[in-house]
């Protein structure tokens, strides 16, 4: 094993060119402690350590605290509830979905009414007071409800409605 002590001494004095010594120190705890003692010799000679407790070395406690904080940082985001202001977006998103669904349903109803409108209705015979609702024919008001549509019509309408709903769901899913 290579002896790094002299290189370590040069490292303390910033008088080295070989990066190998840095790699060696970072991997070897004994070299790190030796680095601390070499550093201390200079600190004592320059009287920078006067009045300090030289038995205290905060390196280990600092590194442990940093490791602990890094762990906390990794955990905290998972446990943090959603920010308050982000609640606006989900509400609008949900409300928007209902609005789209309602408008699709409205279009379906209106279009089915148009389809079922009596072909006999002629524009030329439109009375002065038009009692036919805008967008379609009204079913006669009666206690006896007669089916205005055949089973085929209902089936066709349901299929169209289903297709529209599927299309709507697909749009919701693909929406970013």
């Amino acid at each position: 094993m290579k002896e790094y002590s002299q290189d370590l001494s040069s490292l303390i004095d910033n008088e080295f060119d070989d990066q190998e010594i840095i790699d060696a120190v970072l991997e070897d705890v004994e070299l790190q402690q030796q680095f601390s003692r070499y550093q201390l010799i200079g600190d004592v000679l320059r009287e920078e350590s006067d009045g300090l407790d030289l038995r205290v070395d905060v390196t280990d406690s600092v590194m442990a605290a940093i490791a602990g904080e890094m762990q906390d940082d990794n955990v905290v985001p998972l446990a943090t509830p959603e920010k308050q202001d982000t609640n606006v977006v989900p509400f609008m998103k949900r409300f928007g979905q209902y609005a789209i669904a309602a408008s699709v349903a409205g279009v379906v109803v209106v279009s089915s009414l148009i389809v079922n409108q009596d072909d006999a209705t002629d524009a030329s015979s439109t009375p002065v007071l038009n009692t036919v609702p805008f967008g379609g024919a009204a079913a006669p008001v009666s206690l006896q409800a007669t089916p205005a549509q055949t089973e085929n019509d209902i089936k066709e309408r349901n299929e169209r409605l289903e297709a529209l709903m599927k299309d709507h769901q697909l749009q919701l899913q693909t929406k970013p």
Binding site: S9, Q19, I22, R37, I41, E48, G51, D53, V58, V62
Partner: protein, 192 residues
């Protein structure tokens, strides 16, 4: 390579995920940080805690360090700010006379807090200092001269080589042998 370049190299390694490089920076600067803190922190027992806080702040702020100033200047500012925050948290006023970052290197905290409330610590520190000075006193003149010029005068190996009229490699070797001799006596003292 000068001190600034070495610090930058270590910082780059930290930013690349080599966390252990930060431990080296702590080992390098902890005495200087503690020395600055004695100017502000009245209780010597609190200095390790505040030192730890300083280094944690430094670590967290490292991504913002752009290297415009020397790392030590930046560290110095964080140390002073942390010390002032500590005083505020202790409901004490910071000292009236501040020290500038430029003076940080030459700052001698001799007028500030000393460890008078901890005789055991004083005794230990004195013992460490005595051992170092005693070993240096017993060294051959060329080793004594080399370590003194380097540590007290802050000379580079090249400057020492010119004064001592010897190759740089010899200076390198002399300084190392001096440190090795001191370390042999210092290590058991610090471990005990």
């Amino acid at each position: 390579m000068n001190e600034r370049e070495l610090d930058l190299q270590l910082i780059q390694r930290i930013q690349n995920g080599e966390q252990q490089a930060f431990a080296l920076l702590v080992r390098k600067y902890q005495t200087r940080v503690a020395n600055i803190l004695t100017r502000y922190v009245r209780s010597s027992g609190d200095i390790p805690d505040v030192s730890q806080e300083v280094f944690i702040k430094v670590y967290k702020s490292l991504p913002n360090f752009r290297g415009d100033s020397a790392f030590y200047t930046w560290l110095f500012r964080i140390t002073v700010n942390t010390a002032k925050n500590y005083l505020t948290s202790q409901s004490r006023r910071p000292p009236a006379s501040d020290i500038d970052a430029e003076e940080a290197d030459s700052y001698d905290g001799s007028g500030a807090l000393k460890d008078e409330d901890n005789p055991e610590s004083i005794l230990h520190s004195q013992e460490v200092k005595q051992v170092i000075l005693k070993v240096i006193g017993s060294l051959p003149d060329e080793l004594k001269s080399a370590i003194t010029l380097r540590e007290l005068e802050g000379m580079s190996y090249d400057e020492i080589a010119q004064i001592e009229n010897c190759p740089i490699g010899t200076v390198r070797s002399r300084i190392f042998r001096a440190r090795e001799a001191i370390d042999k006596q210092l290590k058991p003292l610090l471990e005990n």
